[in-house]
């Protein structure tokens, strides 16, 4: 399985660390809504198909990535930096063109 890091390009999955389900929404830390906390900690969609995930390129540039992966085929549909628009994001493309 290859994940195309927006900074480093296509890399083997062993360079990446899975950081969990990307669909979770953390309640306000002051919240006492136990149902919301229970859902945040335990509830998972476990879909057979496209799944939002968080990965870290821990064996490379160490950036955290938002990945959409198909859980049936392991196809990677999209990869993006979690941190918003970063000036370096477009730099890989600039190099590819040269």
């Amino acid at each position: 399985m290859l994940i195309t890091c927006p900074y480093c390009g296509p890399r083997d999955v062993v360079e990446f660390t899975y950081q969990g389900d990307g669909n979770r929404e953390r309640p306000d830390p002051a919240s006492q809504n136990f149902e919301a906390w229970n859902a945040y900690v335990y509830d998972r969609l476990n879909p057979a198909g496209d799944h939002n995930e968080i990965w870290q390129h821990s064996g490379g540039c160490r950036a955290h990535l938002r990945v959409v992966r198909n859980t049936l085929t392991h196809e990677i549909l999209s990869v993006a930096f979690i941190r918003g628009a970063h000036t370096s994001t477009a730099r890989r493309k600039a190099e590819d063109k040269s």
Partner: protein, 195 residues
Amino acid sequence: MVERQSPLEPEFHIGSHGNFEHGVEIILTETGPGSIVQLAAWPGEEKKLIAAIRTVTGLALPDGAGGGLSDGMKSVFGFAPGKFTVADEAEGLAGAFAKAVTPAIGTVTDLSHGRTAIRIAGPKAEWVLAKFFAIDFALPAFPVGAGRSTAHHDVFAQIQRTGSDQFDIYVFRSFARSFWKALCHASEEVGYEVQ
């Protein structure tokens, strides 16, 4: 001045080794730069950091992820978004950057004693490195001056191409001797010389 000891020393054997009857196809050296510094820009401050690198080293970073260059004495390359490794033959680079990179721009980390720089050169350099790292070492994919961050069996490595058949590899000092031994073993089949 205090002489810095090499972590490779017990396994550093100058001369030709391995299958070199038909010629030496790999040259292994330790470059031993006086300074190795890691720079990181806060989000949005990358251009100011790149300008500071130019001011301190005289090297103008090219655009592109992992872009870099080397003038033989000083080397710089990007290894992550907004982060750069700079090496210099001379000592004192961290001090110079501490003045140029203000706390508003980013951070300066002196890794001169934390990393070991190993140079692999020769016609079979790409071949030997391809046995270690699952990245494309071909010249069009990995141009001269560019840097890559990757890992070999969880030993993090930053690689800069400093010539068409020459690479500088920065590894953790504590893993350097083990990595060096592995590099020597991998180079045996093509014949290598330690200089």
